[in-house]
Each structure stands twice: as C-alpha cells, then as structure tokens.
Symmetry: C3
Subunit: 425 residues, 3 copies
Amino acid sequence: MVSRRKFLQGASAVWLGSGAVPASARAGVPPPVMMRSASTQVPLKPQTGRPFQPVVTLNGWSLPWTMRDGVKEFHLAAQPVVREIAPGMTANLWGYNGQSPGPTLECVEGERIRIFVTNQLPEATTIHWHGIPVPNGMDGVAGVTQPPIEPGETWQYEFVMPRSGTFMYHPHADDMMQMAMGMMGCIVVHPREPRSMKVDRDYVFLINAYDIEPGSYTPRTNTMTDFNIWSWNSRVFPGIEPLFAHLGERVRIRIGNLSMTNHPIHLHGHSFEVTGTDGGWVPKSARWPEVTVDVAAGQMRVIEFVADAPGDWAFHCHKSHHTMNAMGHQVPNMLGVDLQATTDKLRKLVPDYMAMGERGMGAMADMGMPLPENTLPMMTGQGPHGAIGMGGMFTLLKVRNRAASGLAAEEWYTGPAGERARKLG
Amino acid sequence: MVSRRKFLQGASAVWLGSGAVPASARAGVPPPVMMRSASTQVPLKPQTGRPFQPVVTLNGWSLPWTMRDGVKEFHLAAQPVVREIAPGMTANLWGYNGQSPGPTLECVEGERIRIFVTNQLPEATTIHWHGIPVPNGMDGVAGVTQPPIEPGETWQYEFVMPRSGTFMYHPHADDMMQMAMGMMGCIVVHPREPRSMKVDRDYVFLINAYDIEPGSYTPRTNTMTDFNIWSWNSRVFPGIEPLFAHLGERVRIRIGNLSMTNHPIHLHGHSFEVTGTDGGWVPKSARWPEVTVDVAAGQMRVIEFVADAPGDWAFHCHKSHHTMNAMGHQVPNMLGVDLQATTDKLRKLVPDYMAMGERGMGAMADMGMPLPENTLPMMTGQGPHGAIGMGGMFTLLKVRNRAASGLAAEEWYTGPAGERARKLG
Amino acid sequence: MVSRRKFLQGASAVWLGSGAVPASARAGVPPPVMMRSASTQVPLKPQTGRPFQPVVTLNGWSLPWTMRDGVKEFHLAAQPVVREIAPGMTANLWGYNGQSPGPTLECVEGERIRIFVTNQLPEATTIHWHGIPVPNGMDGVAGVTQPPIEPGETWQYEFVMPRSGTFMYHPHADDMMQMAMGMMGCIVVHPREPRSMKVDRDYVFLINAYDIEPGSYTPRTNTMTDFNIWSWNSRVFPGIEPLFAHLGERVRIRIGNLSMTNHPIHLHGHSFEVTGTDGGWVPKSARWPEVTVDVAAGQMRVIEFVADAPGDWAFHCHKSHHTMNAMGHQVPNMLGVDLQATTDKLRKLVPDYMAMGERGMGAMADMGMPLPENTLPMMTGQGPHGAIGMGGMFTLLKVRNRAASGLAAEEWYTGPAGERARKLG
C-alpha cells in the first residue's frame, strides 16, 4: 500500500499480456493507491497524459495513474473496507482501494488505459465497464467474456476510450451481492478538445442504498426494496458534503444510479437540462427543462445549469423516505394519541424513554433520542435557522458571490485540502 | 373562516414586513378562505390582477386572492382536515383551507404574490414553492432558509413569479410525515401573453398515496412502499370525477406527483405529448409521442392532445395495483381451490362469510361483500355496460360532440355548480 | 384446435356483426391456432394481405390470420395455460392460444382487422388494444365500453389500424389478477411503405413478473412489489433465448412492460436510441443516446442501434434483483460468519444440508444445491468461461461476422426451426 503522494513518483516495468497476470509478472504492476478519508478530495490535476479539467467526486477521490509507453495504468484493489456513512456510523462494505465507492477513474477521449484489478475479497469478482464500448473480451461478464477473477489473482483489462462521457464500473460476478456491498465507481472520459462541453464546476457521484439493521454494521445483501440507508457515494446527510459554485458559473453534476430503484433528484432554486447520459451527450434539440431528474438504476444522468441565484439550495432525492435515516422505518403514527400516561409509566421502568410522534415527527430533529449502537438519528443536521429535519440523500448547493467568498478562480474545489473553500459555507 | 363569496368582497390593510407576522399586524391579514366540498369546483375567473384562463382542479378548487397595491395576497391555513376519499370513506389528513390537497394558487407570469401561511397544526411547518426560482430566503426549507413556522404563528412569503408553468407547494419541515398526511397543492402561473400556449381545457391534479388500515381513519406515515390508497388529489375511483372535452378541443392535463414512487399515467384512445415540466415548457423539437407518461416523485408533467374521438376514455395509472382500493391487498390467490366445503363450514360460524377468488377476482366488482367500517371495496363503480372493476387512480375522459352536449362555449367546466355539464356524462 | 400449418389452408364464412358472436354464427369463426412450444418461432412471412417484414417474438410467435373480403381475421382463445418458465420450471398461468404471453398480432398500417376472442377462462374477460386509437366501442374496458365477455362466449372486435407502431393487448376486466396471471401480448403494425423505418432485425417482447412460492405452480396475484419471477415473455434466464445479429446490421428491439414497476433495460457494448413508443415514432431531433432505457409499466419502448461489435453482449434489467431467480429472496447475509460448526451439526440431521454465503454468494452459480420442486436455482447458465451467475431478466445479444456465421441473408431468424442459426451461438 502506498500513499497517493508517493505513488505519483512512479512505478517500474509491467507485464504486457492480457487477462490474469502471472505471478512472475506481478512485480511490475504498480501498487494500488489507498484512501483512508471519506471526505471530498482535491481534484487530481493531470501531470501526465492528455490535459483535462478534473472532476470533483462528492465524498470521494480520483485514482492516480502511471504512464507507461503512452498507456495510462490504474490499479484497483477489490477488498473489504470500512466506510464512514456519516459521523457516528460506519459500515462493513466491499469496495476498492480503501473506500466504497471506489475511486473515480479519469482519462481523455482516445487514450489507451490499462487497469489492473487485484481481488482481495473472499470470493471471485470481475469488473464491467458500464457504458464504454470495449472489445467483447474486456467486458467483464463472468462466464460470458472471461472467467471470474479468483481471490488473490490480479487481472489486466486494457482498451482505448472511444468517446467522452460519464460511465460506471462494477462487478458482473455475484452481481446482486457485490453491488449491495458497495462495489462500484465512476469513470469520467474528458473530451479530446478541452473547450468542448466546458463547464466551470464538474461534480460526480453514485446513488446507492444499504439495508443495515440498526445496531449492526454489515448490509443484508438480498434486500430488494426495503433499504434503510439511502446514500450518495455511500454517505448520508449530514455526512454528504455540500457542492459549491460562484454566482454565474456553469455547473455540471454527473449522477449515476446503482441502487435497486429510481431516484428523482431535485434541485432547488434552479432549472437544469440533462446534457448527457452513459450513452453519450444529448443534442440541444432534445433537451428538456427540469427541476427533478428521474435517474433509473443503471443510468447516468449529467445535468447542467448556471448558478444564478446566491444562497444555500437544497439538493435531494424527492422520495421523502429517502431523505430519512434508518430510524424513519417502521415507526407507528402516534398522531393524536395521548402518550403522556404511557410515557409516565414507562419512565418508571426505562428512565430515558421518550415517546415520539404524538403531535408529529418534526421534533425528532431536535431530540437527543437514545439510539442503538452505530445508528444515525432519523434526521439531523444544523443550519443557520436551526435543526434541518433531513437525512439520507440530501445536501446543499452553496452559491456565493465571488468577491464575497474570497476565493481565487483556481480554488474551485471542495474538500479538506481546500480549507479556504470552507469559507463558502 | 369566510366563504369564498364573502371573501371576494375584500380585506383590509396588511403588515408589509416579511417572515413571521407579529401579533400586532395580524388584524390586517385577510382571513383564510375555506372549502367544505371535495367536488371539482367551477374555475375561478380573475376579477382583479392580470387576465388569464383559469384551470380546473380535479376534485379541487382555486384559492381567491386580494389585490393590495398591485400584490396578490393569498392566505393558506395549514390544518387538520377530514377529506372524503370517495363516497363511503373519509380520512383524517392534514391539508390547507379545509381540504387535502390544498387549493390551487393561480397567477400570471411577472405578478408579485404574497402568501400568508397560518400554522394550525400541532407541530411546526413551512412551505416550499417547488420549481419556482424564488429568492433563497423564500425557499421554505426549515433550518436552512428559515426557522420553522411554529403552531399558532403566521408567516409571510413574498416573491415575483418569474416564469409561467406548473409548480407545487408542500412543507419542507418533517417532510416525510407532513406529505404522507396530505399537505400539498398546485401552483399554476399563466403566461403573460394570453395567446401563448393556449388550450381549450386545462386540468390539474396531484398524485398522492396513503396507508390507511381498513377500518381506520388516519394514515400510517412511515410507510415507504406498501400503500393501499393510491389517489389523485386524495380521491380514488369512483370518487374521482371525470374530465370533459368537446370533440376537437385541445386539452391540457397538468399532473404532479408527491407520492413515493413513479406513476405511469395512461390515456386511452389518444396519443399526447409532454409540453411542460416544473422546469419549463418543452421545446417542440424535443417532444415524444406517448400514450403513457411516467411521472416520477417530485415531478410535474404537462400533457396535451386534441380530443379527436368521441366516447368515454379510461385515464389511469398503469400499475394495476394502483387501480384497486384497499381490499386488493394481501388476498391469497384461491384460483382452482374448491372453496365450497370451507364456505359451508364457515357459514355455520359466520353467517355472512363469502369466499372469494375461486374462479378469479372479477366478480368482486359486483358483490356486496361485508367490509370493515370506513373501507371501500377493492373495485367499484357502474358504467353503461355494468360494473367497472376499477378503483384507485382511475377516471374517465368524456369526449362529446358539442351540438349533442348542449353546452355553450363558456360552460366548459366540470363540477357541482356546472349542473348542465353533467349532461355530458 | 388446429396446428398453424393446417390453419393456413383457410377457413369458411363468418358472421359479420360486432360484439358477442351468436351461437348460430360460431361455425363461421376460424378456429383458434394453438402453440405448444415456448421457443422462439420462425417469423411468419405474410402470404396474404399487404407485404411486411415480420418481427421475431422472443420465446414466442405470431398468430396466423385468414383474409376474408379484405379483412384480416385473427382468433384469440383466452385460457388457462401451462408455461415453461425455463427448463426445470413450469407455471400455471392464464394466456392465449396455448401460451403466455399470447401470440404477436402483425398487420400493416391501414389494414382492417377483425379479432375473435373466445373466453375459455372460469371468469369474464375483455381485451383492450393498448395504444391503438380504436373507436370507443372497441376499446375493451368492461363496464365502460362493453359488457364483459362471459366464460364460453366469443366476442368480435373490428377496426382499422390507423398508424404503424408497437402496441400491446391485455384484459381490462379484473385487470390486476388477469395480468398477474400472464394475460398479455404484442401487436406490431408495420408501415404501409415498406422502406419506412426499415431495419435488418426486428425483435419484440414484453416484461412481466410473477410471485410463485418455491415449490408451487400458481402465482399469487395480489402481490404489489415483492415478485420473485422477473421475466421477459414469461421466461427467465437461462430460459430466455439469445438475440442474433450480423456485424453491421441495424437492429430494433421493441420492449413493452406489463409488470408493476419500472425496468431499466441495459445493453452492453452498444449505445442506442429510443425510436418509438406506443404513442408513435420519436422524431430524430428528440432522441437521446442511451445504454439503459427505463421502461415504465404500461409503456412500449422501441430501441435501435447498429450491431458494430462482434461478440456476446449481455442484455438485461439493471435492477440486480431482477437478474436473480426465486431463491435469491430472503436469504440472510452470512458474510464473515463461520458456518462450519453449524453445518457439521446440521449434517448429522440433514445429510445434504449446504451452508451458503459465508464468503459471498457467487459460488451458488456452481453449486448443485437441493431445491424445492419446480424451483429454479437463484442463478444459473453456462458460458464459454464457466458459470454465468445470472437468472431472471438476462440474455445475450450475439453479434457475428456474416462470413463466419455461414448464414444466408434470409436466414436471419432465431428459433428451433432455424437450426443453422444456432451455429451463431
């Protein structure tokens, strides 16, 4: 394991075959770069390869690469990870290179890339490059286009990126379980011509969902509809960081869905257009004005708009159950029921017992209700006007006047390394 | 509380601040107009403000306003209501001004509106103006853009309607519970130029859903998927009134979804185009011909077509469970099972016991099955050819030859005040 | 009952009324043609009526017709059927003419068709011609446009096909139950001008779903979300046959959804456009490039692309639960649990007991786990590289170089009668 900084200093010779990498050739494979933080990382400016304007992965990062004879080499390690879902809750997931989702892979239209995949899981896996027209043998479907990558093996994928756009990667072996455990990531292929489809800010994230019983750490992987962690990049509010833009900037947000249902993603204060999918860029004549884009499972939707109104704008899934955390499930409606008598009796037995919902559920956002271990309150977060009664798939787009924010043009990222960007908040 | 007629005669001076209205200024706030009927009301022709052609709210109404110094003033009272879901069933909901959904707010592009919101609920609330690009402080997100409106308080929102279109209003405080209780309504902003986007008939309604246990009155508000009342404007068939059109007229139907899932709305006998969303009007080059439009949660879809075929045309959600009422849930399939012996035995114990489903469920539409209190049969309604085996999200579009209908051009509305319009049925 | 071959030799005079066919006239009704196979049948080249290029119905067939005085006569028999879901599992369904779904009906824009419907079910039914602008009396909605067709009756529908496109047929009487039992079929109306919208290969199928308890044969028909058989034309992988194309051919796939939820259908290796819906053809200016099309319930989506990459390309629903068979439901996650001790003990009691999932679920695809009667394994199928860990809504698009495939241009169909086409596999 190497830090990202050390990794960028280079790697040695590599085996040039394809498929499973023989043991004798593994010394030449660049080691996988790991990430320990669940915060949004500073975007990765390209030092080698073709130039591009990098994306910001929400609560995520982009994977560094090695250039070898004109080929960009990435190394993904499929492995068990511990992901912080939000401060106060972690989950035992499967992911890549220390986190779930895995890192974003960035490259440029026409570049050749080589991806090493080392399987550190207890069962076989593959990687499918969702949306990318690869040669059939590189498509990553176990049994159909390749044998599965067994535990301990390293596999080598290699292809040219034929068109720009936004794609996803995920296993196509024991699909349901491996995706329900968090194995997924984004791929952004930038246009060869840098002025093409240019925007000022460019965000990307994946929609996913988990079913983790309150008090436990590992998802139930056979759940079909009744998930209780509705997340973006395996994070829930208030664990999802805000998006930033200066007033007047053109903003792109690339949203992929690898959950098991549709998510209608809604932005306040602005209307937008879908300008791209995982199938390509949408022609101008075909675009609809929207405030809510319905992203189906296995779809990528790229939205764009001009941030023309200053303020803090809610950005969330519009299925209201998906903006609640686990405790929002299976609570009976106590509206109009006189809970005082019951509460008085119960407090004799359970001193910290709190009845909830007699007059509605809103007060939950303020309460310090005792919770099972490793369990988030149903809704939480603090704003300038008090408790924000939201959880799950919710965050804010913060639009600020450039002069007021005190940020230079190049300091346009979010994340812990961009401390000055925090001023925007 | 005042009737709509009395209200239209005017109101007195008002406080001109913003945010919470102080007690000293409340005398100037026009009183909230109430509605006691769940029937479709005669459209509200504008007497003041800019001219427009009003919409018909299906099983609903538009809220009268007061003009004060060029500003349109509306007053919404958030409160517990008793809504008739269909004849034979009422529900204890939360809504606005006597009904759930609340009244439609109508105005014209460029008009300034002021909306007073009085909270008569047992918990705090806010109103978010879904899809309207308002100033950030008017966006109605508790904790983020304002403190919640506490029980007993009156809040004042004020902004200019920047563009024409169809929008929604709903709370952004204890969101999941308050929407699951029925708090929502429509906003129609008419174009400044009356000939723009003109149609002959213009309908609007919201899709919602409730989980009310048979025999009870109050929704379970933490349900995520397993609803049993699938409704339009908190009504189910045969409680949903028909839509009318004369042959050859251009018809618009504006459909918003504030339930927790997608609803594919299907019209018989006609194909249509989506001409607008809550994000704006869809350019002609981008429109698709459709017979079923999938409306995601938090989306508005405006469909238009020419009523070019006379007759009674079914108009419904195409998820077949959503055209059944509560008794359609959790009934085992008795197909091919000989129920006679069992029935004979049970009738000795329970004289009115009826076995169902041995040869299918269709006969249910004709049966007078004993039901729990306040519970609708699974499917019901009578047509010219016998029982209509439908419930839930189902109604009819009645297209009639103008000469045959005997209606003058201006009598184009539905509802109890338009008795002659009933002839169309 | 007659075989398709015998049927094509003709039929005698028919009653020319409409509605229920009186007993005296039934001798003139052509007998319903039956199908005993669940395999994809050779496309039906038109011998009479206007010329067209026939479609291939995936694991299905097209219904032969009789021409009488320029009218195409079809006969559908609504009846209980036994459908093979995949080798190893059959289901007691309701369908038409021996199978579920019923046969595809093919005709040409402007043709007049007459459809006899004989009800051999234990309860009343009707047929609605979804998407076709028929006269109101032909619309097939029980109670609204006609009385239901009682058991034993034959009904006659007749209308002109006003526009080309892809449509569906299904009952509008006891809708939920009859569709949950498998009553549905496709209608393809070819353009009057054969060069219009021409493609090289043209496939059609319907998405449906069943809830059949492992070990049983008859669906539970009141299920709303928790189905366990996610099928295409009432088949699941590996029972769904592959689609074929020669390299460079333009391929059309017409996909209708009569299940109770959205299905995002994903194709590997190619991007495509939606060129048509059940509402009409989509103008070029309005089309989006896609790799996953979300098909809502009650929608038809027609996709087109050029098969420009040789190989076996996965084609499946992207909700990963929908690519699993029944045993994928309600299995707890045993990841990291030491099952050996438990297994040892259980084997003393149950000799063939197998623990599963300790290291993931992928190994299930290889295991010979004992299963209840009439129950498919969770995932199954064999490819050139071993077990394919998929079930449900999954198949392959096989793209082959024409020279290598050894097929003549006219041998472009799949199915058992096209044995040489099997070489493509």
